[in-house]
């Protein structure tokens, strides 16, 4: 690629993104690949070739619907883009034959999130049907009913009725979506079939009593390009995603103005602690010593969290652009991506992005002739959770044992190689280009008083649609779990949601209507954390949940400071006893005492927050602990069977544990 100039970028900014109406986009991130997306990609290539079609089969990142992997987006035959889930290799030829060649959707794979549309401007081409109630028994019946009705009116040849995979509406009975408009009807009953066909399909009238008016709470800022562009193509990013326009906007201003824009946006660190990004940058910028450094923290390690991985894999240039803007703002010419080695695909794509940016003159000396020089390197984490902590991360890059060190000095004063260093999380950086491009005020328009913008959550556990969710701050936990992710698996009752990973806590059902913000979650005894969200149903034992997270922290403790090293281990011994029904009444007091020592006397955030899962389960579910202690081993066995385990959780290795 020829080196870009500032004029080239300006020209790209005013040029509208090319509209493509003919493509197959296979979502190839680690999750998709694990589900067979590479095979799907190959199957599409050969099927398209065999059919002698010209439709390009493209690789893109993931938009986050992990539960539906492999996910493919198809635009062809004059239809608007349609999303298919669960597209294993054998489904590809069916899609090519039906969708690409004859404009017909295939059954049981279409994902068409309800849009809240309330108008039928264009003629209806397809009906999507899905029973979202318990049992899913009536989908086929309604498909049949609609087909019969259409036949009766002689419309069966023009309008297809397909069974959907997901319509973005849950627990609302039979749901019908009318394409291309996306008008969605819920709680459709048998008598409604004729009405819908007559009035909506033929008459293009919207039936208000059935209309689903709620809109999806999701707002995609961080994930704006994920799943829609080729993460391995710089031209795609430049032409279709306003790529590097945020950088252009930044370079047109002074670093102080850039920081001011961040201040207006209210963006706070998305790694978990929520420190204001502008302040972190200012604290680094005002240091007299040079050179300075910026680091992108890609050491995501919370169990169940995969936001950062997905962004790095699906939109690496956005993160790089954010890092460059950070570099410009704080006066750093050197950047590092610290990415955990368990993310090879992310590393590969960031590496490629760096090479492409270098080739295009977006990295190096005197970028775009503005006098700003910047380059970045990748450093791999070696599998230690604690290396996400800033001082440990720095030690790790420097080649030392990854242990935190006391602060002060803060990294902003004396960081990597003793230089002033700003460390920002992947998601934080991915927000930055959008803020520069669209303005801090626009960004601050989302969110709550204290917590602006959006947050990406990785929702997993006992949830129907385990996936990435990006919602404005202030959205309730219940809305995330039920409106976006479809509710609890097997329609069991929800017990709690765990947020914040091993440093977080459980939030019980009664508090699920709390709007998500740094402060509100803290008040409930949990934290925002990096965005892991684990859904638990009534069969989950809270003692086991606490044990699971504590075990994680015990395994990941660097061992440097006594409260964390020994405290975590000793608590785990106690929890293990309790969970096997061998606890004693005084164990609860002992737990609380060790919790206090760990919280107050641990050196870094890992140790200080490791007791949170225990404390929050004790806060909301202390009767469960008591039940284990009073009920003894037989109770423990009963709980284990209820959770689906064959036998109670086996005893941890005896006190002389070997290394993890």
């Amino acid at each position: 690629m020829k080196p870009l100039t500032l004029d080239d970028l300006a020209a790209l900014a005013s040029r509208p993104a090319p509209v493509t109406t003919d493509f197959v986009r296979v979502q190839l991130d680690t999750g998709g690949i694990a589900a067979g997306a590479e095979e799907t990609f190959a199957a599409f290539r050969s099927a398209v070739a065999a059919a002698a079609l010209s439709t390009p089969v493209l690789r893109v990142g993931s938009h986050g619907r992990s539960w539906a992997d492999p996910v493919v987006e198809v635009a062809a035959a004059g239809l608007p883009p349609v999303l298919y889930g669960g597209v294993k290799a054998d489904v590809a030829p069916q899609i090519v034959a039906a969708h690409l060649q004859s404009g017909r959707l295939i059954d049981d794979h279409v994902i068409a999130p309800a849009s809240g549309a309330a108008e039928l401007a264009a003629p209806v081409t397809h009906l999507l049907v899905l029973d979202t109630g318990v049992g899913e028994a009536k989908t086929k019946f309604f498909q049949f009913s609609f087909v019969e009705e259409l036949k009766r009116r002689g419309l069966a040849d023009q309008i297809q009725v397909a069974r959907a995979l997901d319509l973005g509406v849950y627990d609302e009975g039979v749901v019908v979506t009318l394409l291309p408009a996306g008008v969605t009807y819920t709680n459709v009953l048998a008598p409604d079939v004729a009405r819908i066909v007559e009035q909506s399909v033929q008459g293009r009238q919207v039936l208000d009593d059935l209309l689903w008016k709620r809109t999806d709470p999701q707002v995609r800022i961080v994930l704006r390009n994920c799943g829609s562009i080729d993460p391995e193509s710089l031209p795609d990013y430049l032409e279709r995603a306003h790529g590097y326009q945020g950088l252009r906007a930044a370079l047109a201003r002074t670093p102080e103005q850039v920081i001011e824009e961040l201040k207006v946006s209210g963006l706070r660190g998305r790694g978990g602690a929520g420190f204001p990004t502008w302040l972190k940058w200012t604290n680094t910028r005002i240091q007299k010593s040079e050179p300075r450094c910026v680091i992108c923290n890609g050491d995501e390690g919370d169990p169940g969290a995969f936001m950062d991985r997905s962004v790095l894999e699906s939109d690496p240039h956005s993160v790089l652009e954010g890092l460059m803007i950070a570099g410009y703002a704080i006066g750093a010419a050197h950047g590092y991506f610290y990415i955990r080695a368990e993310y090879p695909k992310a590393v590969e794509r960031v590496e490629r992005a760096l090479a492409q940016a270098r080739e295009a003159g977006l990295l190096g000396r005197n970028i775009l002739g503005t006098g700003f020089s910047f380059d970045a390197k990748i450093r791999l984490g070696a599998g230690a959770f604690v290396c996400g902590e800033e001082t440990a991360l720095i030690a790790s890059i420097e080649g030392k044992r990854g242990s935190p060190s006391p602060r002060p000095p803060y990294p902003s004063v004396r960081g990597l190689w003793g230089r002033p260093t700003a460390i920002n999380n992947v998601e934080t950086l991915a927000n930055v280009p959008a803020i520069l491009l669209r303005g801090g005020a626009w960004y601050a328009g989302y969110g709550t008083e204290t917590t602006k913008g959006t947050k990406v959550f990785a929702v997993t556990g006992k949830v129907k649609n385990a996936q990435l969710v990006e919602v404005p701050m202030g959205t309730t936990l219940r809305s995330i779990v039920f409106d976006v992710c479809g509710g609890v698996l097997e329609d069991k009752d929800i017990k709690a949601v765990q947020t914040g990973g091993p440093s977080g806590g459980v939030i019980p059902d009664k508090h699920l209507d709390t709007p998500v913000a740094y402060e509100t979650l803290q008040q409930l005894g949990s934290i925002m954390g990096s965005g892991g969200m684990i859904v638990m149903d009534t069969t989950d034992s809270m003692v086991d949940v606490a044990k699971f997270f504590l075990k994680f922290c015990v395994d990941e403790s660097c061992g440097k400071c006594a409260p964390c090293r020994i405290g975590g281990f000793q608590m785990l011994q106690i929890l293990d006893r309790i969970s096997r029904g061998r606890g004693a009444a005084e164990d609860i007091a002992a737990l609380r005492r060790i919790c206090q020592a760990m919280q107050k006397a641990s050196l870094c955030g890992l140790g200080q927050t490791a007791p949170n899962p225990v404390l929050s389960t004790l806060r909301y579910f202390d009767e469960e602990y008591k039940a284990y202690i009073e009920g003894g081993p037989s109770y423990a066995r009963k709980m284990a069977r209820a959770a689906g385990g064959a036998e109670p959780a086996r005893a941890l290795a005896p006190a002389t544990t070997e290394g993890a």
Binding site: A384, R401, S403, S405, P406, P408, V554, D555, E556, S557, C558, G559, K560, C561, A562, P563, R565, I566, G567, G568, F569, Q570, Q573, A590, R593, I594, Q596, A597, K600, A601, S602, L603, Q608, A655, T656, T657, E658, G659, A660
Partner: protein
Amino acid sequence: MSAVATLPTVKATINGLVVEVPVGTSILDAARRAAVKIPTLCKHKDLLPTAACGLCVVRNKGGPRLLRACCTPLEAGMEIATHDNEIVEVRRSTLELILSNHPAECLTCGRNGECELQSIAADFNIRTDGIKRHVKEQPADRSTGSIILEFEKCIKCGRCLQVCQEMQDVWALSFLERGINTRMAPAGDIALAESPCVKCGQCSAHCPTGAIVENDETAAVWAALHDRDKVCVVQIAPSVRVTVGEAFGLPPGTNLTKKLYSALRRLGFHAVFDTNFSADVTIVEEATEFVQRFVHQRGPLPLITSCCPAWTDFMEKKHWDFIDNFSTAKSPQQMLGVLAKTYYAQQAGIDPAKLVVVSIMPCTAKKYELSRTEEMFASGFKDVDICLTTRELARMLKQSGIDFLALDDGAADSILGEYSGAGTIFGTTGGVMEAALRTAHHYATGQKLGQVEFAAVRGLDGVRTAVIDVGGAKVRVAVAHGLGHVSAVLEQVRQARREGKEPPYHFIEVMACPGGCIGGGGQPYGVDNERRRQRIAGLYQDDRDQAVRCSHENPEVVRLYRDFLGQPNGTKAHELLHTRYTARPLYKR
């Protein structure tokens, strides 16, 4: 107007008391000034805070969390509380956690009665095992014969690592694994003897518990003393006389030379010698070497002192390109040993095979030196049979029933007992240099030195350099102590070598331990710079108290050369009093 720049200070309160301290002073140090003691197990005055133990937590009014006093600088306007209810509770729980991970073996531990953990547990009035004890079984490392690593007793404070890696630049010790399995061990999980360890023992001097201790060989000495077929003689190193009193509650620097003579004789030693005597011999040999190289250009410069075995080991492993610069003179310990088994044995009519030479040293590396090379057996017998550290001697004295401090003064035995002031200052950094300069001056000029004290080489700065006038010739000298300071000096020499220039120094003294032998790894516990200064002052006073202050004027030394050795650096002297060096691999596997 005062020309003295005063450091900017900060004012804050600690427990309501107003304190004003220089900017950057830690809360821990600031509290000390206000007579407030904040407990800590990991912070050592010699070292940077490791922030490992978590006992020093304090509260700043209105702050979100507790702060570590060891590594948080006091800031203006802080209102620090050090002992409120919650803080004390947190400390107590943390201490109980540490104790739960430590074997309850106090009664049989090498640090019994001198252990920082034990004493803090006593201070906290810990009376029960509040938390179930969990200690992973791990065999001790006894591979070096100098230092024993009792891993189970390690509380992971990180002091020894900082000592080994940064203070001493040795990098033998490291942390392995993580979480509860974290352990201090030789890097790469090998035996200590296979590691770069130079046996300086600074780790043992800084360890708060019994996790790193000297290899106690008192039993072997008792056995020898009780063996009727053996004749035991003993020597005491220069620094031991001003440190041993600390083990009996006396202030550092108290000179107990003559009480030591009495005590050792009471222990049953047939003859009591003084390593100061052989230090004088070492100086005669080394000054002769220096004059040969400096005045007669026979041999490479700089000449580097070699009487510290940890330094010698370090050089052989890391700086072996300086082998030819090393003085070949043996250390005073070895010289006394070989002279006892030859000269003394002859004169006293004792079969050297029956003679057991015991040395009392400040040092764990001296144990290693006993069999360092075949030259340590030059007379056909081992120069020195058993080496004890100051700490081991104190224990023997306590076992023996001797009321050490109540003893009358005694005298050392001829013909290896008399010493000059130059011999006694061997025990401090800069002392060997100063002693050598006194004698070298005489050898080079033939004149008697008027002012024998060379203030320029004294002090506790890591590296001290000076230009000394020796009969009109300018001798450039450098003194380094603490192995971490050595590389910079040697690098200057290498640089000059590469550029074909004259060496920046003619004479370099290196002692492995900060402060020299008075700060040795086998000395009584609790070393810090204040204590080092007091110990050093004791030695310089001993120097001033001597009628003879130059090694070559020591009458017994003069007699030794006249009656037995012949010329300094002569054939016999070379055969008995000199050694060789070889490059050694850093890792032995």
